[in-house]
Symmetry: C2
Subunit: 347 residues, 2 copies
Amino acid sequence: MSRSLNLAVIPGDGIGQEVVAQGLKVLNAVLPQDVKLQTKEYDLGAQRWHRTGETLPDAELDSLKQHDAILLGAIGDPSVPSGVLERGLLLKLRFAFDHFINLRPSKLFPNTATPLAGRPEIDFIVVREGTEGPYTGNGGSIRTGTEHEVATEVSLNTAYGVERVVRDAYERANARPRKKLTLVHKNNVLVYAGHMWKNIFDKVGQEYPEVTTDYLHVDAATIFFVTQPERFDVIVTDNLFGDILTDLAAAVTGGIGLAASGNINPTGAFPSMFEPVHGSAPDIAGQGKADPTATILSVALLLRHLGYEAEAGRIEAAVSADLAERDGSTVRTTDEIGDALAVRVAG
Amino acid sequence: MSRSLNLAVIPGDGIGQEVVAQGLKVLNAVLPQDVKLQTKEYDLGAQRWHRTGETLPDAELDSLKQHDAILLGAIGDPSVPSGVLERGLLLKLRFAFDHFINLRPSKLFPNTATPLAGRPEIDFIVVREGTEGPYTGNGGSIRTGTEHEVATEVSLNTAYGVERVVRDAYERANARPRKKLTLVHKNNVLVYAGHMWKNIFDKVGQEYPEVTTDYLHVDAATIFFVTQPERFDVIVTDNLFGDILTDLAAAVTGGIGLAASGNINPTGAFPSMFEPVHGSAPDIAGQGKADPTATILSVALLLRHLGYEAEAGRIEAAVSADLAERDGSTVRTTDEIGDALAVRVAG
Ligand SMILES: CC(C)[C@H](C(=O)O)[C@@H](O)C(=O)O
Ligand SMILES: CC(C)[C@H](C(=O)O)[C@@H](O)C(=O)O
């Protein structure tokens, strides 16, 4: 019996093209022989928008829906007004495909540079809500551009949306050796959303008696990220707080060049989407300078999501080994890093 | 001619009592002989709430209004539901007295421990908006406590409110040697509020041709806080982003025990309020373990606000000198640190 993997690829902007090429290289190298990999590339991003004014037409959205998963490089370019591609393409995908789990692991690999003194042990995952909170686009402005302008942003939160992400986080915490789950919010100020999160967190927790829990305000959490990151195992948090915390997490674990993410719909109703946490980095695009490791680790998350656990593990082990042997004095190109990892996972 | 300083003191909860006592000690020691210091203590916080159910009665608010400034220790106790004292007392004061500048300097003093390797030079100030954004208490929930609950939090932003804090930040940047101002927001997602902030930032900037400006998304800003904090001079940002960033800033500059803040109404229409960034730390309250330095530095901000520039400078110099001579092996009590600084500023 032969299996198939039907993958949508959105290289996007800037370094997106380069890093996605390496992700596919490693995917090809790691996939079992009997798996038929089919990829379809989608031309979406800044260039498309400049050419046609489109960000994500319905036909493309429908077509994307037909795939098993999506691999995305990066979206965004300074030539496009801020928000157009983010809201019209990236967030549109996350919302349309109900990616309510935005999964972002943070691990300090051996031999990687961290700005933290003392190299603490860091190995946690952030389960960021992906379809609610201040990201719903629910806001507006009146008297726009005048001195009487009023602009609002509405954070929308539902028990339905919070419970499903909280439950997923408990499951993940329960499956890890330390079994620890931290809720991060700001319930001393955002009392409506914050209390709902906390109540649901406590309620669902009763079903997971083995999971140790705690709660931190988001401001306090940032302190622990730099003073005591080893205290974290699994973190569950709101869309915006998760955005902020995962960039900080990437920074303390060797930089945004290593941070992978998955926008996951665990029900399988829609394809999940995997992407590096970093952006399109137009300043270094096309120069072979981008580190494709974050994309390659995102491919590992993709494989795990589709049930290829052993293959995912092989990519992660290859990255670990590669980083451990990296020599600060030689700078490898995007391509060279991809080649090295492809060789390792195949070997 | 004799001058007077009519100060309201709210010690508050936990270590608030202890640190405020040291703040007053140093204030007494530094004030010129001819200044008549009058203080009135207000019994507000967790104990008051337990006793009477009150957080900040109108009579007290009126009375507080009569002072030149307010010195606050810390508010909050685990025995009080999260949000009650924060919204009913601390934020009520900030909003009632229109403290639209929440000023938070971050400086890595010599000889203090930072979690960052390589001890970068850190010396920036965050000008956090204090009366708008997601802090307005504008939100609610329906079907509360059920599986159909929906909770909202509304971030309210006005051109009036944004322009005044942006202008203040330009003034501060213009007065510093590096003359650099960074706006932090998330205008690729929070497009309504974010674009208004950015437009006003750009418009006001035309009046300050000598100030170099840049813009960072809040997630990216947290990365630079740990990888390149020396790049910042003055930061202006929204209420919630400012809350998060200033805790992180405190962490990288030696900890929350040193972080001072001022809730300032520059018009003088209401008294401004000065407080350490840290909370009430009930776990160490009453043990003489709290570092009063953040409160003492807040007293310096208070003095500067009231025009006592030389005295403010003397406190800051004393703290610098004290920290430079601190010996990691001896742990001083709250009282001892206060005494040492009082001696230095008087001497
Ligand atoms: C590009 C932007 C819309 C996005 C987000 O805010 O979610 C990015 O920062 C991320 O973390 O994936
Ligand atoms: C206690 C809390 C309401 C407050 C805030 O969020 O502003 C605190 O974190 C601060 O930074 O002063």
